[in-house]
């Protein structure tokens, strides 16, 4: 029986994707789990796995085509099966696909993982639809205005008529007056009217936002607007951890060489298993506690950043984590991540230690419950037993969603991380 392969939803805010490359051709046999295509999303190029086995009968989308989430891109079937539309001019003979209309709402999303639906995005329903009133949608469509970045002021964040009308007014004004050095205003979902009163004297060129930039803007704004953050910082004495790392790396092969960040990932994985509310997600229905610990690591790219996950950290040894992190970083830089790696993270570590930053207070990666910001390991004068001694100190900051946990729980969690890193032998298990 013919099976449609649809454009997958890889990430909560993905509405469409581009087929960059087909790795299988018509007639090829495909086994379940095999990589069949490369799909470009807002964030990266990811590999698409086949969820079923069969013979690739037809490519609905050609390379370079952009297709809405949920629309078919290929047809899988039995070897001798004739599928509708099968014929010599395969790609060309396909029925016309819906033109991607950025002003229209995104197609209802496919559930993301084990039945949990994509959560967020400004004014998104759990199913991934934009929550917008009919009159607001009509006005936006008539004005060809993209509502996907609007945040609604109505019940449950519904976009109302007033939101669209204000945004159109502000948007029209912003286009009319070239904006001078105010990128912040561009990111704001509802630019206040004063944004349009920019002094044209210092007018410079407006740089178009890349899709990654738009995605970062959308997600960070969502986080700050919907997740009430609280912050806890403390110093971790890394002297023992640094010595431990040196010891391991003296004998480890290249692949398993351990970075400071790997130690932190391992410590967090252990701490998260003991403090499951930091490995959770707030929903209106209740707290969703994830059964896997998937730790996102922030990776800076030339044109933005991405935070793919090291999957199932709680089950992995330090060496396994180190190998996975290296592989993940290499693939992130060449845009070859898999969908679940950046849609299934449950906690994030952001580390600018390599840049010599003393401390970093992160913005929670929605819909997660917390993020750990990590600074450089620096030699510092510390008082120990009444004596001033030099120790290797690292400042960490926990940013946590106050809807999920309170400060005292955060304190216990971050102290647990501190304890694990200051007594690193437990990380070797």
């Amino acid at each position: 029986m013919a099976i449609e392969i649809a454009m997958p939803q890889m990430g909560a805010d993905m509405t469409e994707g581009t087929v960059v490359k087909w790795l299988k051709q018509v007639g090829d046999t495909v086994t379940r789990g095999e990589i069949i295509a490369e799909i470009e999303t807002d964030k990266a190029t990811v590999e698409l796995e086949a969820f079923e086995s069969g013979v690739l009968k037809r490519l609905v989308a050609a390379e370079g085509d952009t297709v809405p989430v949920g629309d078919p891109i290929a047809i899988l079937g039995e070897a001798d099966e004739v599928v509708p539309g099968d014929g010599p001019s395969r790609v060309a003979a396909t029925p016309p696909r819906r033109v991607v209309d950025r002003t229209a709402e995104p197609v209802a999303a496919t559930p993301m993982r084990d039945g949990v639906t994509a959560s967020a995005g400004p004014s998104l329903t759990p199913g991934g639809r934009i929550r917008i009133s009919p009159v607001a949608r009509r006005i936006a469509n008539e004005a060809k205005f993209d509502v996907s970045r609007l945040t609604g002021s109505g019940p449950d964040g519904r976009i109302l008529r007033r939101d669209v009308e204000e945004a159109i007014r502000a948007g029209v004004a912003a286009v009319a007056a070239p904006v001078a050095a105010q990128p912040a205003a561009e990111l704001r979902p509802l630019p206040p009217p004063r944004a349009s009163v920019a002094a044209p004297a210092a007018a410079g060129p407006v740089e178009a936002l890349s899709r990654m930039r738009q995605a970062i803007a959308r997600r960070m704004t969502l986080s700050k607007q919907t997740q009430p953050h609280y912050y806890l910082t403390l110093d971790i004495d890394m002297t023992a951890a640094m010595a431990f790392r040196e010891q391991i790396n003296a004998t480890a092969n290249e692949e398993q060489r351990v970075s400071v960040n790997d130690l932190i990932v391992k410590a967090c994985a252990l701490a998260l298993a003991r403090h499951p509310k930091f490995n959770a997600e707030f929903t209106e229905a209740g707290l969703k506690l994830h059964d896997q610990v998937n730790i996102d690591i922030g990776i800076a790219l030339d044109d933005g950043l991405i935070a793919p996950a090291i999957l199932n950290c709680a089950e992995k040894t330090l060496g396994h984590i180190a190998a996975d992190a290296k592989d993940l970083i290499a693939r992130a830089k060449t845009g070859h991540l898999r969908a679940n790696e950046y849609s299934e993270g449950t906690f994030t570590i952001t580390n600018l230690g390599a840049y010599g930053v003393e401390s970093l207070i992160g913005i929670i990666n929605p819909p997660q419950a917390a993020i750990l910001g990590v600074g450089s390991v620096m030699p510092q004068a510390v008082v120990r037993d009444g004596q001033i001694v030099a120790r290797q100190v690292m400042k960490v900051a926990l940013s946590a969603d106050h809807r999920v946990t309170d400060g005292a729980e955060g304190a216990r969690f971050i102290k647990e991380i501190q304890g694990l890193l200051e007594n690193p032998a437990s990380l070797a298990l």
Partner: protein, 327 residues
Amino acid sequence: MVEMRLRDALREALREELIRDPLVFLMGEDIGAYGGSYTVTKGLLEEFGEERVRDTPIAESGIIGAGIGAAMAGLRPMVEMMTINFSFLALDQIVNSAAKLHYMSNGQINVPLVIRMASGGGSQLAATHSHSLEGLYAHFPGLKVVCPSNPADAKGLLKRAFRDDNTVIFIEHTSIYGIKGEVPDDPDFLVEFGKANILREGTDVTIVGYSGSVHQAIRAADMLKEQEDIDAEVIDLRTLRPLDMETVIASVKKTNRAVIVEDDWKFGGFAGELSAQIMEQAFDWLDAPVARVSGKDVPMPYNRNLEFAALPSEEDIVDAVTGMFRE
């Protein structure tokens, strides 16, 4: 224009119709010697005599049946059901005869019968005597359903009912018999069926009601203006059949929001019908789901506080409206 109570305006309408048309006569329980349970027919027996103002036994099905027969034979009867609660006993006559004869006789027979009923809760008459059945009667094709909210409309609509060739269910909310208003004394004054009345103009939300609910809607509109600076438009439907959707839709297209108020239960009530029609006809103009403010889903409690809680209030309307604006 004369200021009078709603019950007096109804009596004026009956008097004028009895004078105007010798085919008009009245029947009902205690409408003659006693003057009517709500004194609507007080004095009419003395003025028009036993032939035209007839006291009947307590036999609702029989009275309505007699009214249908008289109407079929060419008279213009008005039957008073005392209260709408007793009309359940006559439901077969109303639904299977009055509403159907014109259709089933291929237009050979008309049933120009006016059935008056007092309706509504709020008087501690408990579960069996506090019904609001306007929506129930509006459900049946073949009936006209009239529910006035003020003395002038009461008079103009009742006089209009006598001139209709179909059966008219004329429903009077007991809580508004005593309200006063200016009423035209012109004997030709009529209020047309199927013409809703915009009682208050507004830009932010349309509040639709009928009968007693209209007064709550107006008070709620005052509160909304004062407390929230929300300008509510208030529409009095006047008749549920025929229904003036044109006025409602024009208003909703202006305000983008609608709240429907009625005493009846929400489940399967008339507000649901109106809400569905608004969505069918003005979906692309809505900024919020249509809200219904209705009676609670319980038999009417006897206890005064519980009865008050079971009926919709001005505060319920204000809450429904503000809920459309707040995050």
